[in-house]
Symmetry: C2
Subunit: 258 residues, 2 copies
Amino acid sequence: MNILVTNDDGINSRGIYELVLALREVGNVIVMAPLGEQSAVGHALTVSLPLRVTEFHKNGNFFGFAVSGTPADCVKLALRTFLAERQLPHPDIVVSGINHGRNTAVNIIYSGTVSAATEATVLDVPAIAVSLTSYYPQADFSAAADFMRRFTPQVAQLGLPKGTLLNVNVPPLPRKEIRGIAYTKQGASYWEDEFEKRVDPQERPYYWLKGRYIMEDREEDIDDIAIRERKISITPIHYDLTNHEFLKKLRADWPKEF
Amino acid sequence: MNILVTNDDGINSRGIYELVLALREVGNVIVMAPLGEQSAVGHALTVSLPLRVTEFHKNGNFFGFAVSGTPADCVKLALRTFLAERQLPHPDIVVSGINHGRNTAVNIIYSGTVSAATEATVLDVPAIAVSLTSYYPQADFSAAADFMRRFTPQVAQLGLPKGTLLNVNVPPLPRKEIRGIAYTKQGASYWEDEFEKRVDPQERPYYWLKGRYIMEDREEDIDDIAIRERKISITPIHYDLTNHEFLKKLRADWPKEF
């Protein structure tokens, strides 16, 4: 099995390192990830600037290719041009992560981790985004890495519908404390956020985003609730964004003439 | 009616100027838009850097507030902090555009124009994204601006479901050649794209994205097809990304144990 790994925390982050070590036990892993941290970049593509690729080493060994772009850039560049140019195999599956922090509810729309997996599905390669639901710097990635070593070959074998990816969130617990897997819906939790106004040393104002995450949901079948129940949350997401229900109403009741 | 206007082509672009002139005839318009061009930024939020706000003048008059960030930053900063701080009214509706180029099918997931409208719906303000389906530099924005002057008050009055925005695409034709309005689904057209490899003056390689848009759909009720039929395409989109159909299959057939 050939696996392309990327992320949005950057090629030198802990999460991608743990993920790659685990996946190397079950397949041929190629890493193509952003040179720097790219959190909350959404599904950005770099169109106004060229991209650079450099070889990245870790502990004295070749680890992967670092790209001067976004997570979606990494996946598009790999799948459309770079892998073929280097005579590297086309992947059977793309895995994006392990993100350091949850990607649930509204966070999904801002997530570079998820956007990399979405880009893979746009290009017809099955994909998984995986996140650890903790921002604690010393958080334990081992259960998440362990799970992905088992789950990635299962997904490659079972297959995914065209245009759909799996968004996995793993609680930051030792494996024996995790209470199984829950297949969930994207929840409605949100950020109660605002911008803090400050003044720089030149006396000019600036604004900096800060926020508090509000858990909105109660039902068991929701991503954030599954995690609170110490389960691994797996949400199937797609990019068919049409609100089909409201479309019926528009066609029935709204103006047709200009 | 209070209207917040933003875009992703930047505050000095033609599309936002035409839009603002039209909307000033039907409401009180406040502009908060990126200082520079921000195309294909997806739903990015600036979290690692502070944001600056400057007053932007056009033809000698105050036009709006320029932000050193993305379209989603502009909307979040305006709605969460800036408008209240300046004692400016909270908007009844947010309009993002007029984008210079189509935002249909897969393009929606990369679109800064759409992400600004999505951010407004996240923050419970009804929103419209509007694009002109032409990349021609001298393209005619007048019909699109004209349409938005009529349509924006209608949307504010009729209302939108929570979490749903309208994605409007207008063909670059004189008003009399436009054949009405079509309420459409997001299509399946896509980019056949690749990266061109070049060598810089220091003999180092770089990659630059280029592509060709492939019209995949045939049915009349699809965004790109409505535009080809010289209609204004209006697609209701939401950010409930769960694939509910596939979720049923996952729950029935996929592994539950870790």
